[in-house]
Every structure is written in structure tokens, then in C-alpha cells.
């Protein structure tokens, strides 16, 4: 088995997504690394046939792959496991498995087909009832079913596009075991991820992409510091974040003795002062986002923020910014100006569009939003959407609750967003944010709240913690 990617180039308008990419993989697990916008997903889409490159070719076992057609890729043995399960929640597990199956007519001898499928499930020790609906499975199980389906259909090259983001640690361990046993059968795996620990644990070789080009090809043993340097060459942090405030104005976070499942947990009390940045750390799928959201709504638990005078901080001083920008934070089909208009609409009965235009153009400048008034939000890039959300934040809110403020943004956009968030930092404001990226938590927080699963396991000042401690807390190792 041998995969050769030769001189693949792809442009979208003026944007060079892939330029002269050459990768050759003989066996094992190969990592595709790079920051957002480095060209990883374009390359994955080219290999799986979803888009056609401008030029270049791909050889699988010295045979030329016909590019730009998903079916050709599937028939040549390419299998793509998506980030989110791309399956059919309403169909039974068996039916989900049968959609697009290689057998010409699985229903002619359904019993035989079922046995064949069962055999492959048993081989990889995965035990799932076929007759239940697919949506009753966990995300991890759905991904496993999908992986087995790819194998059943004869995939020789399996591409995993950041597949572990929704996995629990347990599921991840199982998945990694399965992947390793696959390589022993000669199947090649391309693993797209930006989680270095996973790559170091799992992969044999790696390619680092930057701005659409291959900048390094490396192989085991990996050195994480070295990889980071290579990935982020010439991009260094420029933010000054040594603004610290001492403030008399304190408040306390009270985590009640019962979590939201009604189980007894330890009471936690911790005093904060305004002027802090509080990072809520947790793995993907843990409840750190729910804490951010539910300080705001108070549905989740009896966790609350209390002033020294024993008064609960009124909700109207909160500002919550959801991570799902386009679904929950903004209006996909409204333009930029209309967003500012909506923001102002609570003040007056009739909208003075000239006034709104004035305010908006100031905000657009201040927040560096690269868009016109008439651009619909769905046309903006993720970074610009995030900056628009920040610009819509009222000036006088004292508790900011930012749910994954840099989710899905590349390094530079994320830095830019943080610059804006930190510019809001003042002695009267407390900023809470959630993140699954421990590096981000570590970089920007004064106080770290560690969430494992559904419970807060630790609250402490950053200066009393180490990064490893936080990692252990969120992984449930106490």
C-alpha cells in the first residue's frame, strides 16, 4: 500500500489553498498538521473527491485516482471519517450501515449481509445492537460504526478529520487501539488534528502545512516543542496582558452542594475580585460551556455569583456570548447594519438609521471588522463574525460570559479577538470564558475553574497551579 500525492494545487479566487503539495505515505498513521487555514481541509476534500484540484495527481498503489468525484475516491479505497458523524439518526444502525454499501443488493440476502457486518463488528470487539435507532448511540459509537462501515466497503486509506473532538477519554482510547490494529493490516491512516498530544501518541509520520504548502515532513519520535515552533513559525504573540487590578470589590462564586443531576458533591466557595479573567477549562463534551451559559440562566445548578453584601449579582449585568456564532449569536441573513439597528432598537420606537450608521461605522473601525454595512453575516469569516459579536456587547456590563470565544478561529484571528477581550478588562468587570484548549486557558486566565465531566473539580488562582495540574483536573485525574 502506498499513497503518493503529487504537486496538488488549488486556488479559490485569489486565495491559494494548496500549492504544489507533495506527500508520500507508505504505511502507518500519518498526521496532517497546521493551523486553521493552512490547507488541511482542502487537501482532505481533494483526496476524498469532494473538490477537484487545479492540477496535480494522486496515486494509490501506483494507480492514478480520478479526482473530483466522491464515488471514484470511494471505489479506489478512500474512506473519510468526518468530524461530526455524517449519518442517519432516524434510521436503524443496520440501515445506516447499508446506505451506499458495496454489496450490489444487500436486501436480496439480508441475513448473509447481516452476518458479514456482524463479523466485522466482532473482529474489532465493538458491541452495538443493530436494530436500535442510530440517534440512540453516543457520538463516539456513531463514529465507530462509520469507521467499520468504511472498512467493510473496502477502504484502504482512511482519513480522520479531527475525529476525536466529541470523544470521551475512554472512547478515544478504544478508537486509537482500533486504528493501530488497522495499520497492522496494511491500511494507511491520515489523521488530521491540531491536538499535539494525540498526534505524538498515535502517529508515525507527519506533514506540517502552512499557508497551503508543505513546510516540514517529520517522523517519530516527535518533539512537541519543535512541532509548535514549526507550525507557528514567524507568528509570535504580540499581546500585552500584564494589566492587573487589585480591587476591593469582591464577589464569591458559590457552587452548591448538589450538581444538576441531584447528586451530592462538595460545596465550593471561591472569592474573586472584579478585574479578573476566569477561565473555565474542560475537555470537549464536558460541561464547561454549560457553566458559562448557566451562570447566566441559572437553570443548570444552584451555582451563583454573590457579592460580599450577600446579594446575588443581578442578571441584567451579565453578558453572554454563545460559541455558536451563526446559530445562536447572530442572524445569518441579516446584514451588519441591521445587527447594530437591532442592538439599538430597545432604546427607541423608531429607528434612526443615520444615527445607527454613525455608531456602526465607529464600531466597525474600532473592532476591525472587515465588512460593509450591507454584508450579510453569513458572508463574513468566522473571525469577523466573532468581532461583530464583541462589538455588539454593551459597554456597561460587569460580568462577561464568553463561551469558547475563539472556537474554530486560526491563530492570528484568535490573538486578535483576545486583544479585544483584554482591552475590556478593567477593575469593574469580571470576564469568564470557557475553552477546551488548555493552552488558551493557561495563557489568558488569572483564575482557572477546572471542570471534569459535569462537575467543577477545582477553582484556583493560576499562580498556585501548574498547567499539568489543570490537565489532570480536566481529565479527571485528581
Amino acid at each position: 500500500m502506498k499513497i503518493e500525492i503529487k504537486n496538488i494545487s488549488k486556488k479559490f479566487g485569489n486565495l491559494v489553498a494548496n500549492s504544489e503539495i507533495n506527500i508520500s505515505i507508505n504505511n502507518g498513521i500519518h498526521a496532517l498538521l497546521g493551523e486553521n487555514g493552512a490547507g488541511k481541509s482542502t487537501l482532505v476534500k481533494i483526496i476524498s473527491g469532494q473538490i477537484a484540484p487545479d492540477n496535480g495527481e494522486i496515486l494509490i498503489d501506483r494507480e492514478k485516482l480520478i479526482l473530483g468525484s466522491p464515488i471514484e475516491s470511494i471505489n479506489s479505497g478512500v474512506g473519510l471519517l468526518n468530524q461530526d458523524p455524517l449519518d442517519f439518526g432516524n434510521l436503524s444502525v443496520l440501515e445506516t450501515f447499508l446506505v451506499g454499501i458495496k454489496d450490489a443488493n444487500p436486501y436480496r440476502n439480508l441475513k448473509q449481509t447481516k452476518e458479514n457486518i456482524l463479523r466485522i463488528f466482532q473482529k474489532y470487539k465493538i458491541n452495538i445492537d443493530f436494530s436500535q435507532k442510530t440517534k440512540n448511540l453516543s457520538i463516539g459509537e456513531r463514529q465507530q460504526v462509520e469507521l467499520l462501515r468504511l472498512l467493510y466497503n473496502g477502504a484502504k486509506l482512511i482519513i480522520l478529520d479531527e475525529p476525536t473532538s466529541a470523544f470521551s477519554l475512554e472512547q478515544k482510547k478504544m478508537m486509537f487501539e482500533t486504528l493501530r490494529s488497522l495499520t497492522k493490516e496494511g491500511i494507511i491512516i491520515i489523521f488530521v488534528s491540531h491536538k499535539l498530544d494525540e498526534i505524538i501518541e498515535l502517529c508515525d509520520t507527519a506533514t506540517i502545512l502552512k499557508s497551503g504548502s508543505v513546510i516540514h515532513s517529520i517522523s517519530k519520535p516527535f518533539d512537541s516543542q519543535d512541532i509548535i515552533e514549526k507550525m507557528f513559525e514567524n507568528t509570535s504573540s504580540k499581546i500585552k496582558r500584564d494589566k492587573t487590578f487589585t480591587n476591593e470589590n469582591n464577589f464569591t462564586i458559590l457552587v452548591s452542594g448538589k450538581d444538576f443531576l441531584g447528586r451530592n458533591t462538595e460545596d465550593i466557595e471561591h472569592r474573586f475580585s472584579y478585574g479578573s479573567v476566569i477561565g473555565i477549562a474542560g475537555l470537549q463534551g464536558s460541561s464547561n460551556d454549560s457553566y458559562i451559559k448557566n451562570f447566566f440562566t441559572n437553570e443548570f445548578s444552584k451555582t451563583k455569583l454573590v457579592l460580599d453584601s450577600k446579594v446575588t449579582i443581578p442578571k441584567k449585568t451579565y453578558y453572554y456570548m454563545p460559541s455558536d456564532r451563526i446559530e445562536k449569536g447572530l442572524f445569518r441573513d441579516l446584514n451588519v447594519l441591521e445587527h447594530f439597528g437591532l442592538f439599538k432598537s430597545s432604546e427607541t420606537r423608531f429607528l434612526n438609521w443615520n444615527k445607527i450608521k454613525n455608531i456602526s461605522s465607529k464600531k466597525i473601525k474600532k473592532f476591525n471588522i472587515r465588512a460593509n454595512f450591507s454584508n450579510e453575516v453569513s458572508e463574513l469569516s468566522g473571525g469577523n463574525q466573532q468581532r461583530l459579536m464583541l462589538s455588539l456587547m454593551p459597554e456597561n456590563q460587569s460580568i462577561l460570559l464568553l463561551e469558547q470565544p475563539t472556537r474554530g478561529l486560526d491563530f492570528n484571528s484568535a490573538e486578535n479577538i483576545w486583544e479585544m477581550i483584554l482591552s475590556r478588562k478593567s477593575k469593574d468587570i469580571a470576564i469568564f470564558f470557557s475553552s477546551t484548549d488548555i493552552d488558551e486557558i493557561w495563557e489568558y486566565s488569572d483564575i482557572v475553574i477546572s471542570v471534569s465531566g459535569k462537575s467543577i473539580v477545582n477553582i484556583n488562582y493560576k499562580k498556585e497551579l501548574t498547567k499539568d495540574k489543570v490537565i489532570n483536573y480536566v481529565s479527571g485525574i485528581v
Binding site: L80, D87, N90, L91, E95, V99, P106, Y107
Partner: protein, 317 residues
Amino acid sequence: MLFENTIVTVISLSTPLIIAVIGETISEKSGVINLSAEGTIMISALSGFAFGYITDFAIIGFLAGMLTGSIIAAFISYCDIKLRMDQIAVGFVLTILCIDLSNYLGQDYVRINGPMVTKFAIPFISKIPILGNVFFNHSLITYFSILLIPISWFFLNKTNLGLSIRASGENPLAASSRGINVKKMRMFGTIIGGALLGLAGASFSLYTKYGWSESHTANYGWIILAIVIFGGWNPFRAAAGAYGFGLLQVLAIKAQTVTLALSQILPLLPFPIMIFILIFIQYINRSERNKFPKFLISILGGNQPEALGRKLPEDVK
């Protein structure tokens, strides 16, 4: 005897309803709501009757009805797949257009006699006591409607093509990434569904509600749309709903001889019952799964195709 006759009448009278709910179910399983059912059925009733009258062959009438339904469905499919338009908007406008068009074009055919579908007793088995009379002494189109129920179920659930159609209605993007031609599947489902709606229209005007008059099949299209939801997108349940509706209608007619008041209330009954059942189904679907007994959920819980009524994603090739 009374009981036996009632069942015979219900089966016979429900013929177009059965064909229509199965057609709409197939269309919706592929992800496309054919909201024009009311208009499609009406204009197919006219075209079916008119072509039957002109050629004096009922079979030509049925074929004309099917063709009419298919053409309307093909147009909906074009708007859905090529123009990516809103299915509801297109369907609604088509409904109004077809109703008015059928009333305009049908002026010459009001209350005249055309070909009639006759009963065809199946030799030997129609002689079986009771059963023979109930099930095997109908017109050919009624036999077809009865056969259509298991056939459509088998097609949707036990064939590769049926699975591909359902996959396209559940998650077009996932289906397309597995190499299924989603556009073709949706087009196929919509047109087959439309043809059956057209056939249903023709079976009104050539059989159960013989002849043509202005707004001849008024409201049946809306009712079948409701019955499809009631049926939870399952041909057997949808058919049960259609027969139930037919039964209430027959009871209403029979009640006329007993008391006038009851005969006026009974025709109205299906509608509140339908609304209550729809609310109940929705309630079951939205509530915690284990709150209701399992059999109740399996009988009444719906299985709405996830992508029903949604525009095709841009990434679907």
C-alpha cells in the same frame, strides 16, 4: 349484514385516499413535501374525467391523471433541486393555481356522464362467505389501492432503492457523500408520489365521487396531508388513518337515516379527532421517551424524515 356492507363501502370509498396518502408518504420520505396535494388531486380529477370522457376508456383517464400529477411533481422537483426554492411556497402557489385552473378548464365537463369503473369480482375467492364479498368484490382500482399498501412498505423498507430514497430524505449530505445521487432520488420520490396523487384524483372522478363539478374534490388534499403525519410516514399506519377517515364518512351517511342532528355532526368529527391525535403524537414525540408505555410510542410515535421540507445543502452535487 349491515356491518359487512359498511366495511365494503369504507374500503371502496377510501380508494383515492389510500393511493394519495401512500403517494404523499413516498414523496415526503425522499424529503420533499408536495404541498400541492389539494390542487394536484383536483386538476387530476378533471383531467382523468375529461380524458376518460373523450376516449371513453376509463384506463386512459387514470393514465391522464397520473401524468398530470407527475408533471406538477416534476415542476416541484425542478424548483427544489435546480432552483433550491422553498417547497412550501411553491406547493402553496401551485395549489391555488391548480384549483382555479381546474374550475376554468372543467366548465364543459360539469355533470355529464363519462366512462364508469365497474366492479370486478375475482373468480372463486369472491365466493368465500363474508370475506369474499368484503375484499374480493371491488373495482380494479380498489384492488390496486389495497395492494399498494404492502408494496410501498416493502419498497421503502426492504429494497436498496427505497433505502436510498429514505437516506436522501434524512440527511442529503451524508447520502451524497456515500455516493448516492441524492438529486435523482428526490426527483424519483417526488414524481412517483405525484403520479399517485394524480391517480387518486382520477379515482375520485371516475369512481368514488363519479363525475366532475366545480371544486369536485375540495379539502381531500389537505386531509391526506394530515393523514400522512398521522401515519407517522409509515404506509400501513397512513392507510389505517385513511380507512378510519373513510369509516367516519360512511357512518355519517348512514346516520342520515337515523337522526338528522347526528348526520350533521358526524361529518365534522374527523377534523377535531385528527387535530387531537396530531397534538397527541407531537406530545409523545417531544416528551421523555420512557414516560409512555412502549407500545403506545411504537404505535403513535412518528418518524419524520429529518430533512423534510428543507432546501438541499449547497454541497450536494
